[in-house]
Every structure is written in C-alpha cells, then in structure tokens.
Point group: C2
Chain length 238, copies 2
DNA sequence: ACAAAAGTGTTCAGCCTACACCCATGG
DNA sequence: CCATGGGTGTAGGCTGAACACTTTTGT
C-alpha cells in the first residue's frame, strides 16, 4: 500500500474512528527505551488501523511485526484512550502540507479517533525496525528523555512505562527484554531498572530460580574480573 | 431518544463500528448474578454506543447509570472484543422483523462491531434497573445458569466472571457487591462465593481488619442464634 | 595480592496456616 | 443447657529481609 491509497481509500479499508498504537519497549545498556517513528518534525508511536477483515488482535500483532521485524514478539493489551477531543485535524493538516501532499478537509484522518493501545517487550538486538511510508526514520528513546511527540503519544508511552513497573512485580515476563540466553546479573539489573530501586541480589536470585521458569546453561566466559555467571534461558513449556 | 431515531440516525450520532457492553455483577443470597435485558427471544448485556461528543469512559458510565439507576457505581474496564467476524446482521434482521419494524439491509447496526467491555459491581438491593426501548424486561441471572443470549454476550459475561475471581485476590473492591453497611460474615461469604472455595474464617477476618479499609460500627441485632456481629463500612478516604 | 563479580548461606522477624477456644444468643 | 454463629488466640512452619561469606576471575 502506498500513501496515496492510504489517504484516499483508507476510509473504505479500515474501521473508521479506530486506531491501534503500540508502545514497543526495549532495554539498552540498562536504560529502558521506546521505539518511535519520525513523521515530519515530531515523533510518534508505531501504530495503524484495523482492516475491515482483520481481528483487532491480529492488526496489533501485524503492526508490531512489521515495525520490529520480529516473528513472534510479546504483546499485551494496555488500555483504551477514548477522550471525546481526541482528534488531530490540525496536526494532520500541518504535516500534509509540510510534505506537499493535497490536504483534504474531510479526510477520514481528521475525525475523532479512539485508540487501542498495546505494549510489547522486545530485545533491541533482535529487532530490524522498518519505517512506514510517512516516516523518515526510527529511533529508540529513553523514557526519561522522550522527544516532542504527536498528539497524546507521550502520555500513552508513559502510561505503558508505569504499567510495566506494576507488572514486573507479579509477572516475570520481562525476560522478553533480554536476548534468548541471558545471565542472572542481567535479569537482576533489568528488574532494578524497571523498578527504579535497588533490590536484594541474593533474594532476587533465589526467587527467580525457585520460580522454575528458567533453565540453567553452562557458564559464559566473560573477560572482566569476577566469577563467570551461569547462563539461563526460559524453559520451553511442554 | 426513541427507537426510530436510533435506527435511522444512529449512524450520525454514534462512533461507527464501536459499541460498549457492561457486565453488571450483583450478589443475591450468596449467588453471583448478572443483570441482563430481554430483547426479543434472547437476553443481552446492557450496552450502547458512543456519542460523537462523548468520552468512551463517560459513555460506559452513562450506560451503567441508566440501566442500574445508581449514582456512582463501581466501574472497571475489562477487555476489547474485536474479532473480524463480530457482526450480527442476521440477528438484527430476525429481531427487527419479529417486532414489525422496517428492516434495512444497509443499516449501521449490520456492520462489524468492536466492543469495549466494562464490568461493574453493584449491590442489587440499591439498583432500580430500567429497560431500553428495545427491551421487554430485565432480569438477574446466576452466572452458572445464564439464558440464551445474543451474539457472543455469554462468553463476555463469563470472561468478566473469571476476571472477578482473579481480582478478588488482590483488590478488596468486592465490597461494592454488598450494602453500604455490612458484616464480616457477609464479606467472608462473598469472597468464598467468588472464589468458589473455602477460606479460613479467622485469617480472613484478620486480613480484612489489618487492611485498614473498614471502619467498625456497632453490632447488629439479628434474631438468629449466635453472637451479634459488628457492622462495618468502607472508610471514607480523606 | 587485591578488588570486583557471582553465587550461596545464615539469621531473625514477620506472616500465613490450621486449628482451638471463648463468648453471645435463640430455642 | 445446648447448638449455632461470631470473634479472637496460639503454636508451628514458611517466607522474606538484611547481611555475611566464599569462590572465581582479571589486573
């Protein structure tokens, strides 16, 4: 699909007034990052619309796969953003004229949109992001230092960041942010980064091992002082 | 709004392809019940559509207030149901002809709908349900004995029932199912009913009191054998 | 030899569990 | 005075918190 078809025929291809946004979270050198796309002079969350013959979940999953290049990324529903004023006619107008396209006052994009937000946890090293036809480039941004963003996307991203903080205490799913094979110190650092506070190393390790989720592999050879850590991966659940 | 306006002009008043459904849960004689409306020969969850100038949350809240007659009922988002096949043309056609209205093949109601589902916990005694213009009557149904229901409403209701079971272990919000003033034995029974298993009475009471959520009132005079229980109500949080 | 990193132990307090016990009330 | 229901107490076990200890490794 090219942008002309998107602008002209989007109203017939997609469910109207509904969008999907995804907050794609990665972890780089112990800083939590968020994948954003640059459109015009502002950044935005990867998102899209729901085709008439597509499940909502499917649409979210497709968007995520397209943008990250991953086969089966971890995906979870976050929230609905449905304010009555959630309408971005002015922003679209600015952008469309900036890129020298024909502005249409009654475009389907100018209407109010309810957006369904999902969030995803990925290992940045495994991703091969691709941009959409309106996007100049992509970038991974520290949650504490997000750039100027379209619409309400910044607050959506921060909502996901908060949700992750809540979730990490119950679920242990955050290993999705690491490579397939990782060490306990890596997982430990990650939990600390997400929570933003120190946790007891000994207790952490015992809790993780006791969970039975992880399978111990041979030690890695690292070239720094200190003992070599074991590697782990998630047990393939039968 | 009358049904003619609804059928003819719904497409201009509401966000298209989007609906809201609410699973309204009550507790009657230690059985969990669900408020349903009878439309034609089947029952359905109370629901509605989102006005163009209405927040999604507001719409859900309005639907809930209208149907229960309550001022400020407890409301929580449950899930999105967005299957591509979620379209009920045939059912609408049946119903519309059953009640001798004009069937229109291209009605906005015949399209695919994504529904945003909320669930609510109410004290049945406080409610004064009212029916909509398509509904014959309302009824409270045991979750284990739901009647024939429209579309996928039965599975939506059961999803809410499951969610409640999960939530009761973390949140203590289920007191919303009881009258404003209640006793510990009542709360204890309620938790047991939701979980479907016995829990230790002593421990339960201590946990609830330790939570600091409840304020002790004078004992009730009941006319059955055994000691009179204290009454409690939820502390007004400053 | 030393410092840093990784893994594991140890101790203590606090909480959960499973009962037991006591008191109030109606029949 | 007995059965029932409501409130609380208690002994044992388990878990979490805080910290200590040991081993491994590079410099």
């Amino acid at each position: 699909m090219d942008y002309k078809k998107f602008l002209k025929q989007g109203n017939t291809m997609f469910l109207p007034n509904l969008s999907i946004d995804t907050v794609i979270i990665g972890n780089d050198k112990n800083v939590l990052k968020c994948l954003l796309l640059k459109m015009g002079n502002k950044w935005m969350l990867p998102g899209g619309y729901i085709k008439n013959d597509e499940d909502v979940d499917e649409a979210a999953s497709n968007i995520l796969k397209q943008r990250t290049g991953l086969k089966d990324p971890y995906l979870k529903f976050l929230a609905v953003f449905g304010d009555k004023n959630r309408q971005f006619k002015k922003l679209w107008q600015e952008f469309i004229s900036d890129v020298n396209l024909e502005w249409e006052d009654d475009s389907w994009l100018n209407k109010r949109f309810v957006t369904l937000v999902y969030y995803s946890l990925v290992n940045i090293g495994d991703t091969h992001p691709t941009v959409g036809f309106f996007d100049e480039t992509f970038g991974w941004f520290d949650f504490d230092d997000l750039p100027a963003m379209w619409m309400d996307h910044k607050s959506i991203a921060l909502t996901a960041r908060e949700k992750l903080k809540e979730d990490v205490q119950h679920d242990y799913n955050v290993y999705n942010l690491l490579p397939e094979v990782f060490t306990m110190p890596m997982l430990y650092q990650l939990h600390q980064n997400i929570l933003g506070e120190e946790i007891d190393r000994s207790r952490f390790q015992k809790k993780m091992l006791a969970s039975g989720l992880f399978e111990r592999l041979p030690k890695v050879k690292k070239n720094t002082p200190g003992s070599n850590p074991f590697q782990y991966r998630v047990k393939k659940s039968l």
